[in-house]
């Protein structure tokens, strides 16, 4: 049914986006009203607002969509989602586009994928997020010069006991790993 929706509109990419997004089939109801881009706190910095991106998805412009900076400026504030008169889960579609863009390495000029990768790797190692590990590893690997600017802030947090140098580990890490491995196995590409 999903594929049919996309094919009926002559866009294989539309079908792919719908498939990759829970509730994504609502995208075909986009009215091109622009409430999303107008509401977005970062809309002005996007090469294409979500409205434009949806038109491009309809037009099957896969490469241009996956290379857009749009989804990397989405911070999941959900303002577009609650304002959309057609109840399109816009934030979820942004997540789906991020996933496809990462999988195929189509993203350009953003540290978003590196941050996500560093974060989730640490979670898989310990079962919990490790802020000091995340900050130091992410900055060291991606923008070592910015570390200088971050230093004083990090120190202030450390002095106030807000930055631990040691991660906390959950006890049943094996269980978490088994769940993640299984999810990867049955989830396939998405």
């Amino acid at each position: 049914m999903v594929t049919q929706l996309g094919q009926r509109r002559g866009s294989a990419f539309l079908a792919e986006v719908i498939e990759a997004t829970p509730g994504g089939e609502r995208i075909v109801h986009c009215l091109q009203c622009g409430s999303c881009g107008g509401s977005c706190p970062n809309g002005a910095d996007m090469q294409h607002t979500p409205r434009t991106l949806f038109a491009m998805i309809n037009a099957d412009r896969r490469e241009a969509v996956l290379a857009a900076n749009t989804m990397w400026f989405c911070v999941s504030c959900y303002l577009c989602t609650v304002r959309c008169p057609q109840n399109i889960p816009i934030t979820e579609i942004m997540y789906a586009l991020k996933r496809i863009s990462i999988r195929e390495k189509k993203y350009k000029g953003t540290d978003g994928p590196a941050l996500a990768r560093t974060f989730t790797k640490l979670v898989e190692k310990y079962g919990r997020s490790f802020e000091f590990g995340l900050a130091s590893k992410f900055y060291f690997l991606n923008k070592p010069l910015a570390m200088l600017k971050m230093g004083p802030m990090g120190l202030s947090l450390f002095i106030r006991g807000r930055m631990s140098l040691k991660p906390t580990k959950i006890r049943q890490l094996d269980q978490l790993h088994a769940i993640i491995a299984k999810a990867r196995e049955i989830g396939g590409a998405s």
Binding site: A20, P22, G23, P41, N42, D45, W72, V75, S76, C77, Y78, L79, T81, V82, T91, Y95, A96, K98, R99, I102, T110, D111, G112, P113, L115, A116, R117, F119, T120, V123, G127, R128, S129, F130, E131, A135, K149, M153, S156, L157, R160, G161, R162, M163, S164, T168, I170, R171, Q172, Q175, L176, A178, I179, I180, K182, A183, R184, I186, G187, S190
Partner: protein
């Protein structure tokens, strides 16, 4: 009243003030919070950026390990709150995903039936389950004379909350009016703090932070009240750098709403995690409310 408690990773360290003050005010209000044993990270926004099913399964493990005596869970962090709620909803509404998530959980000897656990925010519990009379009954130090900016952020009020308006919420306003504070009209109260953009796109993040700080200054707030660790970190820890970036001189204390609630209940500020914020909150509290320690129980 008994609830399972999911503190989330930030509350362990960078937002320990939130964890401490949540526990302290819950005790005063007779809300029993029992921490979920061996909970794991909710993945924030980062897992969903990579893999929908893994993200959902990682979150669902937390719902699956909640002790059977509980049917409600309290998550103070906005991202945790949303992720737990979102996953429960996804499993209830999307049968294929529900089956896959449970298949993944089964690999760890677990299962979760959607709808078993109702995910709540403490603000909702305090305002809805307890209400005005129960809160007012505990006030030892009314907050008269203190002007507060109630900052809700994004992920508690959007998209799923159901207990408040998604664009101009009022529950925290109500709560602090009950306590005697002057709650300012804060038009940006549910605007975005920039989230993880402070890590990947500083100029954009700084602009969002600037708007929130400027809004509080424009309406002469003494401080901003937060209900999310990320919001608190962005507004507090980055405040100095935001000021250097724009040439402003912001000195706005940023605290968690539970910390000020604790002050109104007459609790010792040290028990509430004061002093951990980078822009000190105690001076303005002392100026407006008098000595804090003297009356502490």
């Amino acid at each position: 009243m008994k609830y399972a408690y999911y503190p989330g990773c930030s509350l362990e360290c960078s937002s320990a003030a939130y964890d401490r003050s949540v526990k302290a005010v819950a005790e005063v209000l007779g809300i029993e919070l029992v921490e979920i044993d061996d909970w794991n990270c909710c993945g924030a926004t980062e897992y969903f950026t990579q893999d929908e099913l893994v993200a959902s399964a990682v979150i669902a493990r937390n719902l699956a390990i909640v002790d059977r005596q509980f049917d409600q869970l309290v998550a103070p962090c906005a991202a945790c709150y949303l992720n737990l709620k979102k996953t429960d909803k996804l499993m209830a509404e999307n049968a294929p995903m529900n089956a896959k998530i449970n298949e993944a959980l089964a690999a760890g000897g677990l299962q979760y039936k959607a709808g078993t656990i109702r995910v709540r925010h403490l603000l909702d519990v305090i305002c809805t389950d307890l209400g005005e009379a129960a809160v007012k009954d505990k006030v030892v130090r009314p907050l008269a004379g203190l002007r507060v900016a109630p900052y809700y952020g994004c992920q508690v009020v959007r998209p799923l909350n159901g207990f408040d308006d998604p664009e101009y919420p009022m529950k925290m306003d109500d709560l602090f009016k009950w306590l005697g504070a002057e709650v300012i009209h804060y038009p940006v109260k549910a605007h975005c703090c920039g989230g993880h953009l402070t890590q990947i796109s500083e100029p954009q993040a700084f602009e969002l932070i600037r708007r929130l700080l400027q809004g509080a200054v424009d309406y002469q707030a003494d401080l901003i009240l937060c209900m999310c660790p990320m919001c608190q970190l962005n507004l507090d820890a980055y405040q100095g750098r935001v000021s250097s970036f724009f040439g402003t001189k912001f000195r706005v204390p940023i605290i968690f709403f539970t910390q000020l609630l604790g002050v109104a209940f007459g609790l010792d500020p040290n028990r509430l995690g004061f002093g951990k914020e980078l822009v000190a909150a105690k001076p303005v509290l002392q100026e407006k409310l008098g000595a804090l320690e003297a009356e502490a129980k």
